[in-house]
Symmetry: C2
Subunit: 336 residues, 2 copies
DNA sequence: CACCACGATGTTACACGTAACATACCAGTA
DNA sequence: TACTGGTATGTTACGTGTAACATCGTGGTG
C-alpha cells in the first residue's frame, strides 16, 4: 500500500498522553513547567516523552497569538566578521532571557531583505533586528502591521524606523582621516567596496576631513564585495591612477589588510612610503605586521545593547532612546 | 481600557477577503498562484493585500502536515569563514529550488546542538543539514522520529547518521605533512585549537605521516577557539617548548596566518627557518606574503552538493551515496 | 463532622490557511 | 434544447497545543 509518502506522523501530545492514560493538557503543563504536575506524573511523562521521541510543535501556539519567544536577526552578510561578532553579542543576551533567535541574511539586497523579513514575520517572531537603514515600501508596511519592535543596528546617522543602535560611521571616517592628516599625510585616497550606506558615510567623513584641510578627496571604489584579495587589487589600481599618494583609508580592515599585503609584495614600506588605515579593529589587523591602524568599533557591545533594548520593548517598556551611539576608538597601530 | 497589550491583531486572510467580499479561499489561491483566480480578482486582491499589509502566516500550514519548504542548517560557528562559504553554496541551490533556510549555530556544543535541532524541527522543516558527527542520544532520537532527511557535511571519515558529504580530513592532514616531509622538513609540530572531530582527524593524519617517515610527532594544542592572535600565541609556546623545529602544520589557516605574523615579528624567515602550512585555502592566506601553503577544500561545492542531495531526498529520491567525498588540493604557496 | 483551600487533572473552545470536494455559471456543440 | 467541459468561487473539515474555566479529591481546621 503506502507509497513513498509513508510519512509516519510525528508523535503529538495526545500520543504521549495516551501512553500514560492522562489528557494532553497534563503533558502540556509538564513541558512548560514540570513542577506543575505531581512528582509521580513527572517521572512517567519524562519516560513517555523520551520513549516516543516527542518533538515540540510550535505551530499551534503560533496560531494563538501568544508570544513566540523568538526574535529575528537580519544581517547583510555572514562572510563579514563584523556581523558574527554582533550576533554573538545579541545571543549572549537572548539566550539568558530565554529567547530563540532566527537568523537570516540577504546579501545587501533590499528585495531579499523584504523576502526574508516576510519569512521571519510569518513565524510570528516577537521582535526584529535589522542592520540596514534602507528598505522597500512593502518592508516598511509589513513591519508596521506586524506591530513588533524593530531595531536597526550598526549605524546611528541614517534615519531609523523606530530605533537605531550603533556608531557614527561618518564621524569614524572623519576622525581617522583627521588623525592621518595630523600625522602629516596629505595625499590620502579612499578605498571602498560594496557601496552600502555605511561605506558611503565613511566616505563622506573622509571627504569632510580632506576638505577642512584644503586637501583634495580621491577615491577608488567598486561594488564588488570586500575581500583581502580585492584590497590588493584596489591598491594596484590606486597606484596606477594616483602614483604619488602617501596614504590610504579603507572602508574596512579586509581591504586595508589586502592593501598592506600588496605593498609588502611590491616592496612599499608602511608607513614610511604609504600609510594605511582600516575600519573595525579585527583580530587579524591587530596580529599583522605592521599592526593595522583602524577605527575600533564595539561590535559585540552593539549586539548586546540591541538585544537588551529589544527584549525590554517586547516586555512593554516604552521606547526612550531612539538613537544609541556606542562610540568608537581611533587606533594608530603601526601602519600610519 | 486596553493596557499595554493592545496588540492589534494582524490581518488574516479573512480580513482581506471581507474587504473584497469573497471567501478567504479565493485569497489563499491567489497568494499561492495568482493565475488561479480571475484577472479582475487578481487586481482587487493585490490592492487589498497591499492596503492591509497582509503578512503570511505559516502556522496553519505547519499544522496540516504539509511540506514547509524550509530546511534547517546547523553550523558550529558563524565566526568561521568556512561555514559562511558552505552556506553560500547551500543557498545558491535552495533559493533556486524555492526553499527557505533556517540557520542556527551552536558553538561546538552537543547540548546546544540538541537544543537548536529541537527548535528547528519544531518548525516542521523538511530537511536538516548538520556539520558535526557527534550528537547526544536525544538528538539522534529526535532526528529518527522527525522522519526528515539529514545530511552531515564537512567530514567523510567519522560515521554518519544517514549521509555524509565533505572531505577526508585525515587524509588532508596526511597529504600536507607528507608534502612537507618530502621537501625536507623533519621537525614538524602540529598546532591545534578547538579540538573538534575534524581537528583531531587532521592530527591523526599528521601523526601517520610522521610515523611513516620515522619522525616524532609533537603537538601544541588548546581548546580555545581559533583566531589569528591565538596562532601567534601558539607559535610562541611552540618555540619555547621545541626550540629547534623547522616546520609547523596548523589545523586551519587562521592559526597558520597568526603564526606567520609572529614569525615576521620575531624575524624568523619563512620558509627558510620555519615552514608553515594551514588548512582550507582562505582568501587571506592567498593574499598574504608569503602565500600560505594549505589544504584547499571545496567549501562552496560541499554546500552545493549537500543542498542538491537533500532536496532530492526531500522529493523522495532514495539515498544512494552514503558518503560523498569531494576531495581537496595541496597548495604549496610560498610558506613551505 | 462539616467545610474550606488548594493541588492535580480534565473539558472546552480557539487560532487560521488549505486540501478536497461541491456548486454555479458560461460557451460551445450536437 | 440538452448536454459537456471547464473555469471561478464557495463549503467543510482538519491539524495541535494552550488559556480559561471546571471538577475532583485530600488534608487541615474550627
Amino acid at each position: 500500500m503506502m507509497k513513498k509518502n509513508n510519512k509516519k506522523k510525528r508523535p503529538t501530545l495526545q500520543d504521549v498522553a495516551n501512553l500514560i492514560g492522562v489528557t494532553k493538557m497534563t503533558i502540556s503543563r509538564y513541558l512548560r513547567d514540570p513542577s506543575k504536575v505531581s512528582a509521580d506524573m513527572q517521572k512517567k511523562i519524562a519516560v513517555a516523552v523520551e520513549e516516543l521521541g516527542y518533538i515540540p510543535n510550535r505551530a499551534p501556539e503560533l496560531l494563538s497569538n501568544a508570544k513566540s519567544h523568538a526574535i529575528g536577526i537580519l544581517v547583510p552578510s555572514l562572510a563579514n566578521q563584523v556581523f558574527s561578532q554582533v550576533i554573538r553579542g545579541i545571543e549572549r543576551v537572548t539566550e539568558a532571557a530565554g529567547y530563540q533567535t532566527m537568523l537570516a541574511h540577504y546579501g545587501y539586497s533590499a528585495e531579499r531583505e523584504e523576502e526574508r523579513i516576510s519569512f521571519l514575520l510569518s513565524y510570528h517572531i516577537d521582535g526584529l533586528i535589522l542592520s540596514e537603514s534602507q528598505h522597500t515600501p512593502r518592508t516598511l508596511k509589513m513591519i508596521a502591521t506586524a506591530d513588533v519592535p524593530v531595531i536597526e543596528m550598526m549605524d546611528t546617522v541614517s534615519p531609523a524606523i523606530e530605533q537605531a543602535i550603533g556608531i557614527d560611521n561618518f564621524d569614524g571616517g572623519y576622525q581617522m582621516v583627521s588623525a592621518m592628516i595630523e600625522k602629516g599625510y596629505k595625499n590620502i585616497v579612499y578605498l571602498g567596496a560594496r557601496l552600502d550606506i555605511r561605506t558611503q558615510l565613511r566616505l563622506q567623513g573622509y571627504e569632510k576631513a580632506m576638505q577642512e584641510n584644503g586637501l583634495q578627496a580621491k577615491s577608488v571604489m567598486t561594488e564588488a564585495p570586500s575581500s583581502f584579495s580585492l584590497g590588493a587589487d584596489l591598491l594596484q589600481k590606486t597606484l596606477t591612477k594616483y602614483p604619488q599618494i602617501d596614504g590610504i583609508f579603507c572602508t574596512n580592515d579586509d581591504l586595508a589588510t589586502g592593501a598592506v599585503f600588496e605593498c609588502q609584495r611590491q616592496g612599499i614600506r608602511i608607513p614610511q612610503d604609504i600609510a594605511i588605515a582600516g575600519f573595525h579593529g579585527h583580530d587579524f589587523g591587530q596580529s599583522m605586521v605592521p599592526k593595522l591602524a583602524t577605527v575600533v568599533t564595539p561590535r559585540e557591545k552593539i549586539g548586546q545593547v540591541t538585544a537588551e533594548q529589544l527584549i525590554a520593548r517586547i516586555n512593554g517598556d516604552p521606547l526612550t532612546e531612539k538613537i544609541i551611539d556606542l562610540g568608537f576608538e581611533i587606533y594608530h597601530g603601526e601602519s600610519i
